[in-house]
């Protein structure tokens, strides 16, 4: 047999040279009875006999329980004794035992990727109980298909890359800090990069935190000091990641650090400089409620404990323009010559903990924030009630500094609205109950009313706080605030809200209104492309099973950057991300997918289509026009190969040649009654297995060809099947929009449907004969229905091609397809010849094709 030798690709995959094909095929076929499961329906001995006649097969052995120890040992012995270089186990579903048999084969010294399976249990014996004859024919076809595929299998190397023993954590809010501490405690070096001049994030500026209402900075402070002192943590503040290159295990990171103008090692945070600085700037920490100086420290507990200069506001650090702080500083810590700098380092894993942005009420003018001084946001409230805040913890009205006697709290501001963020921001309901409790604590006589749409007390201990608030006299009214107006003289506020429970309008006056602000996403714009939602939160690899991984290997997400959440959930998720990252670091080596794609440079026309198809960014152009696949990022879904116009992408174990050989074998006999069914490994194939497990019966027409992902199904496969006279063709994948295990494979497959149908129309092939379906692993019933329906279509098609009995010698006119294409491989041709003469139950009818000199 001949195969084209795929070249090795560059970069990491230069080590991935494919072992050249064997000069002599020595295939071992191991049919299994599986007790009575297979043996009771399929005539296993007949299948075994048939297998012996297939080209390349040198050894056939039937077993009762091939997967059991004895069975496995027999395979291992056979490999050694008969020098087998291909193994086909004809038994259950590969999703069941492919790994088992591959291990056994590996133990015997044979490359595990030279072992494949033919599924005659879930796909034959369990679903065709009523027709053992046809079931046996089908089983034989499946064996022949597997043998044809095996002919061109190549050994695949199992390689891995070393993992740099360091991590990058971006963002040092509570999530970033937690992730950094966990990794550092585990013994790994962590580079912790923070955009602001201090770590701590939003938590550091809150007052008390829900539900225990403990002092925020008091519990965070010690953790911040831990971060500062940890020998394994390299803290880089006032910095952002500028560029990243490389891949999992080997990221090259460049960070840009802004000039601080103050020497961290010398500054003692004494505050003398503040006394002489002439420039006032609105205080960021205090939400612009008060002023700071151009030389500032965000709050006393800042880490690093050092001031910095806001050089845009600073008049100038020289004696002509100002420079007063330079004179004043006893430690001479001010560095006027400071500049931005780049810091480079290498890491093996990255954790993104960049947090969310508090939503801005500027987008909602009907609530009057910004125009009416006594309308404040929840963060502004946190600072007012904070003992370290602008009023030293005294909650007063900004307009006249008097104590408020009535306060309204408005929920869902900036969230649950198509004009701002459509999603719910998770923490604001709890935040507002906390605010209410704090107000009552300070001023028990002050009336507090919370206007809500849905009060989401979802967390642990939340409900009891809600009940406590009710006991303390906080009022809860169900209605979302429509507008806030201000009385011109008193600056009191009039809130307009419907009490929807009572169909009544509340047009009430309040001294102060707190807007419970939600979260706005600010994820994205990161040097490594990590997908974000439309409202700028990072997207996780799988919402249930991989909630902190991303589709970029080695990059993890946690905290507010992934979705809005409170402190506890941020900490939990941060530890989760650290744990996941630690697995990679700890192993020290990262496996490259053995079946990863390879670009055949001599066939490639450099169109770049594959780059777009890959959801992992695994394909790139090296600057000279050459496209290569980075093995460490490739997940072997085959979507790139599915759309390659030159068929220039080699997908090991799922090559176009192998798939087309299977199609040819499947359609050798009576193609018009056959259904060539493509099923993807994670969803549809498992769905078809489930039909088998549930013993759902359906006709024997289908011949299933498995691929890893539906993205692999090229338009060529359907075309070839129809050209060879297939009765029907099925392309089945995971449900749209987001069930695909490889993110977007199913979408790309769906896009091919119109092209296939266009081709069918031009070739007068009935639309019904091709179907694109979405079958999940739990939809066995759906698979059965599809099989039943398509069998009918195939039977109808078969009827339409039947010739009357008389003209047995005349060549059959095909109504649907053109001249039969030449089989691509000699092996397949050999098999064709053999199946013709050896198939025991092939119906000899007038429909038998005449093979003219081909």
């Amino acid at each position: 047999m001949t195969t084209s030798n795929p070249e090795g690709d560059s970069s990491v995959s230069s080590e991935l040279e494919v072992v050249s094909a064997d000069s002599e095929l020595r295939i071992g076929v191991f049919p299994c009875m599986c007790g009575k499961n297979i043996g009771a329906v399929v005539d296993i001995d007949s299948v075994a006999e048939y297998a012996k006649t297939l080209p390349g097969v040198v050894f056939v052995q039937v077993n009762r329980y091939t997967c059991a120890d004895p069975g496995q040992r027999e395979i291992e012995e056979a490999i050694k004794e008969h020098e087998l270089n291909r193994v086909i186990v004809v038994s259950c579903s590969p999703t069941m035992h492919e790994d088992t048999f591959r291990k056994a084969v590996k133990d015997a010294g044979l490359n595990p990727y030279l072992c494949i399976m033919a599924n005659i249990r879930e796909h034959v014996s369990w679903v065709h109980r009523d027709d053992p004859e046809a079931a046996t024919v089908k089983a034989k076809d499946l064996v022949a298909m597997a043998v044809a595929k095996a002919a061109t299998l190549e050994s695949q190397k199992e390689l891995d890359v070393p993992v740099t023993q360091a991590a990058l954590v971006v963002g040092a809010g509570v999530a970033g800090m937690q992730a950094a501490l966990d990794l550092a405690d585990a013994g790994f070096k962590v580079n912790l990069v923070e955009r602001e001049s201090t770590i701590g994030g939003i938590m550091a500026i809150l007052d008390k935190v829900f539900p225990q209402n403990d002092c925020s900075i008091c519990i965070l402070g010690p953790k911040m000091v831990d971060v500062a002192k940890h020998p394994n943590i390299n803290l880089i503040t006032m910095a952002e990641v500028e560029t990243i290159s490389g891949y999992v295990g080997n990221f090259d990171v460049r960070v840009k650090q802004r000039a601080r103008f103050v020497d961290i090692s010398k500054c003692t945070s004494c505050g003398d400089c503040v006394e002489v600085c002439p420039v006032d700037v609105p205080s960021r920490t205090d939400q612009s409620l008060t002023w700071q100086k151009a030389i500032q420290i965000p709050f006393p507990q800042a880490v690093p404990s050092s001031y910095f200069i806001d050089h845009k506001s600073c008049l100038g650090m020289d004696l002509i323009r100002c420079g007063k702080c330079i004179d004043r500083c006893e430690k001479q810590a001010i560095v006027s010559s400071d500049t931005d700098r780049y810091i480079d380092f290498e890491v093996g894993v990255i954790i993104l903990a960049t947090g969310f942005k508090p939503a801005s009420p500027e987008k909602i003018p009907r609530l009057g924030w910004g125009r009416y001084p006594n309308v404040i946001t929840s963060l502004e409230f946190e600072r007012l009630i904070n003992a370290a805040g602008p009023t030293e913890g005294s909650l007063v009205r900004p307009s006249d500094l008097t104590k408020p006697t009535s306060v309204a709290i408005a929920q869902c501001v900036g969230s649950r609205s198509i004009d701002t963020t459509p999603a719910c921001s998770n923490f604001c309901c709890a935040e507002s109950v906390k605010c209410a409790l704090l107000i009552k604590e300070h001023y028990p006589e002050t009336e507090v009313t919370i206007y809500y749409q849905d009060l989401r007390m979802h967390g642990k201990y939340f409900e009891e706080q809600y009940l406590k608030a009710r006991e303390e006299g906080v009022k809860f009214v169900r209605g979302r605030v429509g507008e806030i107006q201000q009385y011109p003289k008193t600056k009191n506020l009039r809130v307009s809200v419907e009490d929807t429970t009572h169909n009544k309008l509340h047009l009430l006056d309040y001294d102060m209104v707190i807007l419970s602000m939600g979260a706005e996403g600010q994820s994205g714009n990161f040097p490594i492309p990590v997908s974000v939602t439309s409202d700028s939160f990072y997207i996780e690899s799988h919402p249930k099973l991989r909630p902190v991984d991303t589709s970029s290997a080695g990059v993890f997400i946690c905290g507010g950057a992934e979705s809005p959440k409170d402190i506890r959930d941020s900490v939990i998720q941060a530890s989760a991300a650290a744990g996941r990252a630690a697995i990679i670091l700890q192993r020290g080596r990262y496996p490259i997918e053995a079946l990863s794609a390879r670009i055949l440079q001599d066939k490639c026309n450099r169109c770049g289509t594959c780059v777009e198809r890959c959801p992992y960014g695994a394909i790139s152009e090296d600057g000279t026009g050459k496209f290569t696949v980075m093995g460490a990022l490739c997940q072997a879904c085959g979507t790139c190969a599915g759309d390659c116009p030159k068929d220039a992408i080699y997908m090991p174990n799922f090559t176009s040649e192998q798939i087309e050989a299977q199609i040819e074998i499947a359609l050798t006999d009576n193609p018009e009654e056959k259904i060539v069914a493509f099923a993807c490994n994670f969803c549809s194939y498992r769905g078809s297995d489930l039909a088998g497990i549930s013993r759902m019966q359906y006709p024997t027409n289908a011949r299933v060809i498995r691929s890893i992902c539906s993205g692999r199904y090229s338009t060529k496969f359907a075309q070839k099947a129809f050209e060879l006279g297939a009765g029907a063709v099925l392309y089945s994948g995971c449900h749209l929009p987001s069930d695909c295990h490889f993110q977007t494979g199913n979408h790309w497959m769906a896009k091919r449907e119109p092209r296939i149908r266009g081709w069918m129309k031009r070739n007068n092939i009935d639309n019904e004969r091709f179907r694109v379906e979405w079958v999940s692993a739990s939809e066995g019933k759906k698979w059965q229905t599809i099989m039943n329906e398509m069998a009918e279509v195939a039977e109808m098609h078969k009827k339409s091609t039947l010739k009357p009995e008389k003209s047995i010698t005349k060549p059959k006119k095909k109504t649907a397809s053109k001249t039969k294409s030449k089989p691509k491989s000699k092996a397949a041709a050999k098999i064709k010849k053999k199946t013709k003469s050896n198939s025991s139950s092939a119906k000899k009818s007038a429909t038998k094709k005449k093979k003219g000199g081909k």
């Binding site: 009907r366 869902c412 649950r416 609205s417 198509i418 004009d419 749409q453 169900r478 209605g479 979302r480 605030v481 429509g482 507008e483 307009s496 809200v497 419907e498 009490d499 929807t500 169909n503 009544k504 309008l505 509340h506 047009l507």
Partner: protein
């Protein structure tokens, strides 16, 4: 109760109303709800989404069409249009308030709701304003007939007659 389930218009209203999650912003923004609880845009939409019925008490005729509800709805429900839709159905069923029927008749007869009068003409002359060209009333009639307004007026005249009897 009238069964609206097969009604094409109801389907359109229902589709428009579907995003509503009953937050109440529309009601608290409504100037009429401010002075009477009878007119509540949220409740009108609630009938459609929760009860699957078009409200038929005629409360929607109290809508001033100020469009505040539509402007502020966080789910982008076109409230003013839904309320108009309800009024359309009410009109078709002959339940339009008498002043609206009168306006419709005036439009049909004169081509405007505030028609010219001797007094107004004198004023215009005194101020030196030009005579405005009058529309072709045949065209007005044509539009009324072709758009079904004629039938709506008929239905309402008939309903008024019935009431009187």
């Amino acid at each position: 109760m009238v069964d609206d389930s097969h009604n094409q218009e109801f389907e359109e209203l229902r589709k428009a109303a579907r995003p509503c999650f009953q937050c109440g912003i529309c009601a608290s923004s409504c100037p009429v709800f401010r002075v009477t609880p009878q007119m509540n845009p949220r409740m009108s939409v609630d009938s459609i989404i929760t009860d699957g019925e078009i409200p038929r008490e005629g409360a929607e005729w109290l809508c001033a069409f100020c469009l505040m509800c539509e402007e502020r709805c966080p789910m982008g429900v076109s409230l003013a249009e839904i309320l108009m839709g309800i009024k359309n159905i009410s009109s078709k069923e002959g339940k339009a308030p008498p002043d609206y029927v009168e306006s419709g008749e005036a439009l049909l007869a004169k081509g405007s709701l505030s028609p010219t009068s001797n007094r107004s003409d004198k004023k215009r002359v005194a101020l030196g304003l030009p005579d405005l060209p009058q529309p072709d009333l045949e065209q007005v009639k044509l539009i009324f007939k072709a758009t079904g307004a004629y039938d709506v007026l008929e239905a309402n005249r008939a309903a008024v007659k019935e009431e009187a009897e």
